[in-house]
C-alpha cells in the first residue's frame, strides 16, 4: 500500500545542496508540513487571532472556539473519552515533565491536596526502560533524586527489544510509576504495551507512555492501550513546532497538582493561597500557542483523511525496504531487528553504523547526495552505550516518503562506506 502525497508538501519541492534533489529522511526528528497546516496557521492569524479563555470580544470568542475544537479533534484522534483529557504543552518533553513535575509537587505537598498515587519518597520505585529518549528518562531520574525514590529500568537485549521476562522483577510492589516509550526513536521497535500495563496495574503503578514516534505513524487509541498518560509531539505529526499534548485519564489529571504556575489556571487566589481549576486548565498557565493548536488540528485532520491504517501500511513497506536494505549491506550494521521476522514490529526508522566510520562522516556523504538524515546519539545515549556505539546514522520516513527516496538513501550509504573505506583502508 503506497500513499502518493508528496505534492501536498511545499518544502519537498526545493532542492538540496548544489541543486540536487532533496530526499528528506529525518522525520523522526521533525516532519515536514502539508499545505493544509500552513494555511490553517496563516488563516488563524489573518482572521481570528486573539488571546483565548479570557476577554469577551468577538475575536476572543472565535479564537477560544477554534482552540477548544482543536482539543476535541485531537482527543478523538487518540481515542480519548473526552476533550478534557487533553492538555496542550510546548512539546512532548514538556508533557512528560508535566507528569513528573506534578508528582514532584505532590511529593513536596504543594499545588493543592496531595493524592497518594502521586506522592513519592524513599521506599517507592520509579521504573523506566533502557530504550528511552532522554525526554522520558531524565525527568524520572531527577524525580527519583528529588524524592528519594528508587530508580530502576527494564533492560533491552542486543536488538533493543525489551526483556519481558524482567517485568515482574523490575516492576515490583513498591513501583508507583512505569514510564516507557511506545516506539523507540532509535530502533523503531513498537513496544508490546499490554504486558507492561498488566504488570503495572497488578502492583498499582501508573503508566506514562511516550507516544512521540507512535502517534504520527500508527493508529493509537489510548483507551485500548489501557495506559494512564500519553505524551505526543505536534511537530513530528505534520503539525507546527511549539505544540505538544499530554493525554491523561480525567480523574488522574484532576488530581495531579500543577508544577508550572500562573494565570488562567485558578479558581481563587489570595495573598495566602491558591485554588486550582480542574484539568486541563490547571496545567495551561499563561498565554497559549493558539495558532499552533489550530494548525495541529489541521494536521490531525490531514492524517485522518489519509487514514492511520493506510499511513501505517505505507510506512511498513518503507520500513522493510530500509531495514532489509541496510541489513544486507556489507560492513554496515543495522541497529535492531529487520522487522516482524524477529518477533518485533518496527516503524520506518532505521539507525545504522558503517564499520569504522563515524556517523557524522557518513551523514556528510549523504548530505552531499541531498539526503537529510540524523547523526549522533539521537538523544538516546544509554541505548547507544548498550550497543557499544558512540552514535549512529538514522533515516526515518513519513507519509510523503517514497520508495525512490529509500533507494537513493541506500545507494548513498554504500557510497559513504566505499568513500571512507577507500581512504582509510578499514
Amino acid at each position: 500500500m503506497t500513499l502518493d502525497v508528496r505534492h501536498d508538501f511545499p518544502l519537498l519541492e526545493r532542492t538540496a545542496r548544489a541543486g540536487k534533489p532533496l530526499v528528506y529522511l529525518d522525520s523522526a526528528a521533525t516532519s515536514q508540513k502539508p499545505r493544509a497546516v500552513l494555511e490553517a496557521e496563516q488563516a488563524f492569524y489573518a482572521r481570528h487571532n486573539a488571546a483565548v479563555s479570557r476577554g469577551a470580544h468577538v475575536l476572543a470568542e472565535e479564537a477560544t472556539a477554534a482552540f477548544e475544537e482543536a482539543r476535541a479533534t485531537f482527543a478523538r484522534f487518540i481515542g480519548a473519552s473526552s476533550a478534557r483529557e487533553v492538555v496542550w504543552t510546548q512539546n512532548a518533553t514538556a508533557a512528560l515533565n508535566l507528569v513528573a513535575g506534578g508528582m514532584a509537587s505532590a511529593s513536596a505537598g504543594v499545588g493543592g491536596p496531595a493524592d497518594p498515587r502521586f506522592v513519592l519518597g524513599p521506599g517507592d520505585r520509579i521504573v523506566v526502560t533502557e530504550t528511552e529518549h532522554h525526554a522520558n528518562l531524565i525527568p524520572w531520574q531527577q524525580l527519583a533524586q528529588r524524592t528519594g525514590a528508587e530508580f530502576a529500568w527494564i533492560p533491552v537485549d542486543d536488538l533493543g527489544r525489551m526483556d519481558t521476562h524482567a517485568l515482574d522483577e523490575v516492576i515490583n510492589a513498591q513501583t508507583k510509576v512505569v514510564a516507557f516509550t511506545h516506539v523507540s526513536n532509535v530502533t523503531g521497535i513498537v513496544t508490546d504495551v499490554a504486558p507492561l500495563v498488566q504488570r503495572a496495574r497488578a502492583v498499582g503503578a501508573l503508566t506514562v507512555v511516550d507516544g512521540c514516534q507512535s502517534v504520527p505513524h500508527l493508529p493509537v487509541n489510548v483507551q485500548e492501550l489501557g495506559v494512564d498518560f500519553l505524551a505526543s509531539s505536534g511537530h513530528k505529526m505534520l503539525g507546527p513546532t511549539g505544540i505538544g499534548a499530554l493525554w491523561g485519564r480525567a480523574e488522574l489529571l484532576d488530581a495531579l497538582p500543577p508544577s508550572v504556575f500562573g494565570g488562567s489556571t485558578i479558581t481563587k487566589v489570595t495573598m495566602e493561597k491558591t485554588e486550582w481549576l480542574p484539568a486541563p486548565q490547571r496545567f495551561e498557565a499563561g498565554s497559549q500557542p493558539v495558532a499552533q493548536v489550530v494548525a495541529l488540528a489541521a494536521a490531525v485532520e490531514y492524517l485522518q483523511n489519509l487514514g492511520m491504517e493506510a499511513v501505517a501500511a505505507h510506512e511498513a513497506d518503507l520500513a522493510l525496504q530500509m531495514r532489509s536494505g541496510l541489513a544486507e549491506m556489507d560492513k554496515v550494521r543495522l541497529i535492531g531487528p529487520v522487522g516482524n521476522s524477529e518477533g518485533s514490529d518496527v516503524v520506518a526508522i532505521a539507525a545504522f553504523a558503517v564499520e569504522g566510520v563515524h556517523s557524522h562522516d557518513v551523514g556528510q556523504v549523504l548530505d552531499d547526495d541531498g539526503i537529510c538524515v540524523r547523526v549522533g546519539h539521537h538523544c538516546n545515549q544509554p541505548l547507544h552505550a548498550k550497543f557499544g556505539l558512540p552514535g549512529s546514522t538514522r533515516a526515518s520516513a513519513h507519509v510523503y516518503t517514497t520508495h525512490e527516496d529509500v533507494e537513493a538513501f541506500l545507494n548513498s550509504v554504500e557510497r559513504a562506506r566505499d568513500f571512507f573505506h577507500a581512504r582509510s583502508a578499514v
Binding site: 563515524h358 557524522h360 562522516d361 556528510q364 547523526v375 549522533g376 546519539h377 552514535g391 581512504r423 582509510s424
Partner: protein, 153 residues
C-alpha cells in the same frame, strides 16, 4: 575538487587513522593543564593535557573518540603545538579559528603559513555543523593551556 574531496583530503584521513599525541601523558614536575570537551550535538569527546616548560609547549597529549574531522584536527594540533613558543601557539590557534571562519574561501598567507597540514581543514569551514567537530580539540587546547599558564604563575 568536489566539496567532499576537499573536506576529506588524504592528509586528514591519514591523521584520523593514525592520530598523533593520542594517550594521555603525565609530564611530572612541569606545570600542566587538562581539559575535557564534549560536542553536545553528537557526544564526541576529547580530554587533552598540555604541559609547559618555560616559554615552550613541552607536551600535548589527548584521549577521545569522534569523527574523522575531530580526530584529525586534534592530531594536527598536536603536531603544530609541541615544541613551539607559547606566544606563537596563540598565533597558530588564532589562524586555525580564522580558517574555520572563512567559509571555505581561504585565509591570508600570514595565517596560512602558520598552519601547515592544518590548512587542509579549510573545506570544513563551509559546513557550520562540522566546524564544531574541527574545533573540539582546539577548545580543549585553549582551556588546558590557560590552566597550565595559571599553574606556572
Amino acid at each position: 575538487m568536489s566539496d567532499l574531496d576537499q573536506m576529506y583530503q588524504q592528509v586528514i584521513m591519514d591523521h584520523a587513522r593514525e592520530a598523533h599525541g593520542r594517550g594521555l601523558q603525565d609530564a611530572a614536575g612541569l606545570p600542566q593543564g587538562e581539559s575535557h570537551q564534549v560536542n553536545t550535538t553528537c557526544g564526541d569527546e576529547v580530554t587533552m593535557r598540555v604541559a609547559l616548560d618555560g616559554t615552550l609547549v613541552a607536551s600535548v597529549s589527548w584521549e577521545g573518540q569522534g569523527c574523522s574531522i575531530s580526530q584529525a584536527s586534534t592530531s594536527v594540533l598536536h603536531d603544530l603545538m609541541v615544541g613551539v613558543n607559547v606566544e606563537d601557539s596563540d598565533k597558530i590557534a588564532e589562524a586555525f579559528r580564522a580558517l574555520m571562519g572563512a567559509q571555505g574561501k581561504g585565509i591570508d598567507d600570514a595565517h596560512a603559513d602558520l598552519l601547515g597540514d592544518a590548512n587542509a581543514f579549510g573545506g570544513v569551514g563551509k559546513y557550520p555543523a562540522r566546524i564544531k567537530c574541527a574545533l573540539l580539540g582546539w577548545m580543549a587546547w585553549k582551556d588546558a593551556l590557560a590552566q597550565a599558564r595559571e599553574e606556572e604563575r
